[in-house]
């Protein structure tokens, strides 16, 4: 059991930030709690519970962009059409099999992103070009990829922002695991934007390859500037297999993960094309 001396539930974000800053390294922010209960580092003696700080909720702006409060639970996200309709259902793909209802009722989007370990959501968010809003001494917005790569420092992750696609766009996600609750051996998230029937932008993200989510530029280039035909999809899938350097562990060889990445990319792109057909 973690040895906790101080437990705070600040009523707003400013107070939460001040408590975190003043506690130095001995404090952790508490979101849903499901990870921290099991893995609270020994140096932590202070918990700052964000549940009363007003950080939950899902909003679709008039421009079609999506804002997700950090304390939004996965259940509430899955129940928000604004989120599950975004990019043709990308987040629905991610969330529908995300743990069990018991987990989804408790775990939060912000807690999950801040935890930044094995993740199905982070590749989906990277494919959706998500930005995070972070409160420190000031408030800053930065791409999720930059946030994940930034040196550690005290901050409160307050919300995620998914920009509106510039035109017809759709995404898809798939994962491979031994059972539904296991961490994925590998996952794939794809988003494609079309302009006059031609791929304007493609983001192909592979997760669990040793990093949380990695874009595959060669696969994206194989799609860009052409219609998303079966041969373009095939070229993208082959570029993923060629460009990936996956990890090898007791569960799967690197070769097998490379194979999965190709299969997953093909499936996701086929799904994206089907969804783009519905959009057009």
């Amino acid at each position: 059991m973690p040895t906790i001396a101080h437990y705070h539930r600040p009523p707003d974000l400013d107070t939460a930030w001040q408590l975190l800053r003043d506690a130095g390294g001995s404090a952790r922010l508490l979101a849903g709690g499901s990870d921290l209960v099991l893995r609270c580092p020994p140096e932590v003696d202070t918990l700052i519970d964000l549940s009363a700080a007003g950080l939950a909720g899902v909003t679709r702006r008039a421009d079609g962009s999506l804002t997700i409060g950090a304390m939004t639970t996965f259940s509430d996200l899955l129940a928000a059409p604004a989120a599950t309709d975004h990019l043709g259902g990308l987040l629905h793909d991610v969330l529908a099999d995300f743990g069990s209802v018991l987990h989804r009722n408790q775990a939060t989007v912000g807690g999950h992103v801040a935890r930044a370990r094995m993740s199905d959501l982070i590749p989906g968010l990277l494919a959706a070009d998500a930005e995070v809003v972070v409160r420190t001494e000031d408030t800053r917005t930065r791409p999720l990829a930059d946030h994940l790569a930034a040196p550690p420092g005290a901050h409160v992750l307050t919300e995620l922002h998914l920009p509106a696609p510039p035109g017809p766009a759709a995404g898809a996600f798939t994962r491979f695991s031994r059972s539904a609750f296991d961490h994925a051996l590998l996952n794939v998230a794809v988003v494609v934007h079309l302009d006059a029937g031609v791929v304007h932008t493609a983001r192909v993200v592979i997760g669990e390859t040793g990093v949380l989510g990695r874009r595959l530029p060669d696969a994206e280039a194989a799609l860009t500037g052409k219609p998303p035909t079966p041969s373009a999809i095939d070229a993208a899938a082959r570029a993923v297999v060629a460009g990936l350097d996956p990890r090898q562990d007791a569960l799967a060889s690197a070769d097998y993960r490379r194979h999965l990445a190709g299969v997953g990319t093909r499936r996701c792109l086929q799904q994206v094309v089907a969804r783009l057909g519905e959009v057009a």
Binding site: T3, Y7, V37, L38, S100, V101, Q106
Partner: protein, 158 residues
């Protein structure tokens, strides 16, 4: 620290260790329908409802329940011990064998029935995916939950 919360319609005020889990606290104060199965969120036998939503109490700090409403399987029966329709249906369907998973299954199923009064088999399976049962093979539990849904709809509409 001291917290106050509602436990099965009773007001509780109790001194807690801020590092202890809600499951540990509930069992310590006698709410032993909450089972200590895996204590890592895998088995669902410690499930309770927190402000209506079913969660694994082993993965919550007790302090997170401060000011909130906690419901356990022990609160389902009426004052005279008469079983709730969901409990009755689960027993009648043969969905209770050793009984260890039952309190958690009841909490997950109550959460489902609150949101979906007429769930199909797939909806029940999805809702109970976090509750492990090593006796029944799940089929009878699923039948029991769907029968309970029918009973509750009947009671609602007369």
């Amino acid at each position: 620290m001291r917290i106050e919360f509602e436990l099965d319609a009773r007001s509780i005020a109790v001194e807690i260790d801020p590092g202890e889990s809600l499951m540990t606290l509930l069992r310590r104060i006698g709410a032993v329908s909450v089972k200590d199965g895996c204590a890592r969120g895998d088995c669902g036998s410690c499930a309770v409802r927190l402000d209506g939503r079913a969660v694994t109490s082993c993965l919550l700090f007790a302090a997170q329940a401060d000011g909130r409403r906690v419901q356990t399987a022990a609160g389902l029966a009426d004052a005279t011990g008469g079983l709730h329709p969901l409990q009755r249906a689960l027993v009648d369907a043969g969905g209770v064998q050793c009984g260890y998973c039952t309190p958690g299954v009841l909490m997950a199923a109550m959460d489902l029935l609150d949101h979906d009064p007429d769930p199909g088999e797939q909806q029940v399976r999805t809702a109970l995916a976090g509750n492990l049962c090593r006796c029944t093979g799940y089929v009878k539990i699923i039948e029991g939950v769907r029968e309970a849904a029918a009973l509750l709809r009947e009671a609602e509409h007369g």
